[in-house]
Subunit: 276 residues, 2 copies
Amino acid sequence: MKIYTDPYLLQDFLRTSKKAGKTIGFVPTMGFLHDGHASLMAHARAQCDILVVSIYVNPLQFSPNEDLDSYPRNPQNDEQICAQQSVDIIFRPETLYDHNHATFIRVERLSTGLCGGSRPTHFEGVCTVVARLFGFIQPDIAVFGEKDFQQLAIIRQLVRDLAMPITIIAAPLIRDTDGVALSSRNKYLSPEQRKKAQSISRTLFHIQQEVNTGNTNIHTLRKLARNQLQVDELDYLDFVDPLQLTPVKDIVEPTQLLIAAWVGKTRLIDNIRLTP
Amino acid sequence: MKIYTDPYLLQDFLRTSKKAGKTIGFVPTMGFLHDGHASLMAHARAQCDILVVSIYVNPLQFSPNEDLDSYPRNPQNDEQICAQQSVDIIFRPETLYDHNHATFIRVERLSTGLCGGSRPTHFEGVCTVVARLFGFIQPDIAVFGEKDFQQLAIIRQLVRDLAMPITIIAAPLIRDTDGVALSSRNKYLSPEQRKKAQSISRTLFHIQQEVNTGNTNIHTLRKLARNQLQVDELDYLDFVDPLQLTPVKDIVEPTQLLIAAWVGKTRLIDNIRLTP
């Protein structure tokens, strides 16, 4: 396993490898890796010759009041997890942007609701860093987790619209034994907050059960969900079309239920597929 | 010479060629080709195995009040010019965007002044179409003309910021025998308007001569230029740093003089390098 910090050296190496016929798989991360990331790597590992994992806490996707500075880091553990997943290259740049960086990418419609509502510049930052990483790495495949459901939809649209020759692979969300979706930000939670966080996945499962038993009325389901949640503040709880991310009126087709909520100062997101 | 209209068939063909070790050169155009375009093709031809010329009048870079619908077309002549320049592939799509296209790219700073002042959405349209064309074609080199001086600077920044593995080549502006910079839009000009158009290049040459003889005071030069111009309306006349496109106060370094002006309903642009 090699570690690159210089993006241009990495780009040179990968271009040579590609010319030699190797396929490149890519998993972008912000580090503080956990089993969720390991699962993304395993998906990628199975479908490429050279597996690249980037570790970069992208300032562009944080707004000034967010947790950029306190975002957790653990480089040694990151390396261990990558090694366990037979990663070939860790790309861990100090900074990724030129000092005069000026190019920004937005994806309309998909970026406006849900997390885009409370984090209006977030997805522009995500799209811009992903496009720049794709530029350096030129992957054949890239794996994104369904945990960040809206991000996945936006990246798919970005890749389609810019005709990038990259296959985007979705990997399922991974949960801890207590149901909480794996996230680097779970580290922020006190034991008491962890209990509150559990109410998010419990709510999702409960609603899924309701739908399974024939309850498809969104008004009722929303009420049930809100009663179940024990978070400090709900950001959103939305039933949407899984591709367009537009709100649905009743659950007649497969529908994604997405929740974002605050527990203390930690913002958590989770989601589940509802199939009527 | 092959003509593709389907971008995905073109992408497939070029991917296979690239895997076989061929290098790809690309010249994006809006058709109605002239000797200026031929010169771009000649620059590209010398540096690639497969030369692709796109012909697409990109609606995204026109605002509603501009000449999208009347933009001149001459497919047969376009094919002839491409054949003369030993082009391998003409890419002439009917439409380039998916019906639900949602991704847009902006380059800050460089896009705001000059043509960006009077055409505020123009360069976003240019960047978006160029990125999508680059996506389909994956060129090793792409050639842009210095006639569109601001566009060239913006594309360079775009390619650098998104780490695209593409070499951008600048080709010099080509003039007609009467000094007028070659442009598809010259077709709009009546003989009388053509005379007015000539005053633009005459002004540029005059200022260049003044600088050559030691007159580097921008205040004086600007006055001289305005007296020389016989256009119907001046959009801008700016002395800028050739890389940053920021206004200069005095001509102490190589400086670009850019003019945009209306002759009747036709907007013309031209520019020249001033070296003190």
